[in-house]
């Protein structure tokens, strides 16, 4: 029983800790780019995003920087790449949170809610949030380079949430059409 509590408690504790730290870990060093963000419409995660994630979390650039034999350059590189990696995680988390909020609002008014799909979606979203929290923590601790697979998986999870929500929205529109036609 104690083991179950410990195993169940660790992710919850981690989430609480991360959300508390979130207030101070909000990319405070990042400034001017964020100020321009409102000018850019959020784009759906396409092949460019996947390639971008591969690049951010790849060790190729780090190896190149290592070859320059400059401690300063290494330091600047690590700070820059960490900043970009954290930016992606926070942005992905906030984009998915936004579409989940929109979905919740829509679901409240829905008359034919598919419980199984909603539960699946909620679990997928919880997994996504945990992955984001762990990514933030691990990027802060070790830098982004050992986390390529985890970041790619997180992107896959966010895209799968998007696909489920698209399907849900489509079926809701169809149901509304049927009701209107009846």
């Amino acid at each position: 029983m104690i083991e179950i509590l410990v195993f169940a408690g660790i992710p919850v504790l981690l989430l609480v800790l991360l959300s508390m730290l979130g207030a101070t870990w909000n990319l405070d060093e990042d400034s001017s780019d964020d100020r321009m963000d409102h000018l850019r419409r959020p784009s759906p995660a396409g092949p460019e995003t996947a390639a971008c994630i591969q690049r951010i979390f790849s060790s190729e650039d780090r190896d190149f920087v290592e070859k320059q034999h400059s401690p300063r350059l290494r330091q600047v590189y690590r700070a820059e790449r960490t900043r970009v990696a954290l930016y992606w995680v926070e942005r992905a988390a906030s984009d998915v949170a936004q579409i989940m909020r929109d979905h919740r609002l829509g679901a409240r008014e829905s008359q034919n809610l598919e419980v199984a799909r909603e539960v699946g979606l909620a679990l997928r979203y919880a997994e996504f949030r945990i992955l984001c929290g762990m990514l933030v923590l691990l990027i802060r601790l070790f830098g982004p380079h050992a986390l390529k697979d985890m970041a790619t998986y997180t992107l896959d999870v966010s895209q799968s949430i998007g696909r489920v929500l698209q399907a849900t929205a489509a079926s809701r529109i169809q149901a509304a059409g049927n009701l209107g036609g009846a």
Partner: protein, 151 residues
């Protein structure tokens, strides 16, 4: 739009020696206030709407191409840009580091993470070129003329 795009690539962009210069050129065809693109020659040969779309698409394509380069490739690209600009490398690098003019070369409505990565990589590429310059001269600090970066 495809015809205008091909025309833009063939007649104009092919004559620009590197992608970074192409990016800056395409950004310069965009109005700072409205964000609308305009190219006199292209608008004469094609419909204004098509010319605008072609410029926008080319701008975005070049940006994505540059943003997905490895840091090493971007350093080479920047080195080439410095060489073909015919400006004093010292001044150009300092200006780019201080004023960050490359920020305005970013197209609108592109993946924000990609924008972030691109800007960060340019910053790093500038640091690499600066470091190489010091290494070539055996200097621990700045305030010395920059040797030819092409070598």
């Amino acid at each position: 739009m495809q015809t205008a795009y091909d025309d833009l690539l063939r007649r104009t962009l092919a004559n620009i020696p590197c992608d970074l210069a192409r990016l800056i050129y395409l950004a310069s065809t965009r109005d700072y206030n409205t964000g609308a693109y305009h190219h006199e020659g292209l608008s004469v040969r094609h419909r204004p709407g098509e010319a605008r779309d072609a410029l926008q698409a080319a701008h975005r394509d070049i940006f994505y191409k540059l943003a997905s380069l490895s840091l090493e490739q971007l350093v080479d690209e920047l080195e080439l840009y410095v060489r073909v600009s015919r400006e004093q490398p010292t001044g150009l690098l300092r200006t780019w580091q201080e004023l960050e003019p490359y920020r305005v070369a970013v197209p609108m409505e592109v993946d924000p993470t990609m924008v972030k990565l691109f800007l960060s990589n340019i910053k790093l590429a500038l640091e690499v070129l600066k470091h190489r310059r010091f290494q070539l001269q055996g200097l621990p600090s700045s305030a010395s003329p920059l040797p030819s970066l092409g070598r």
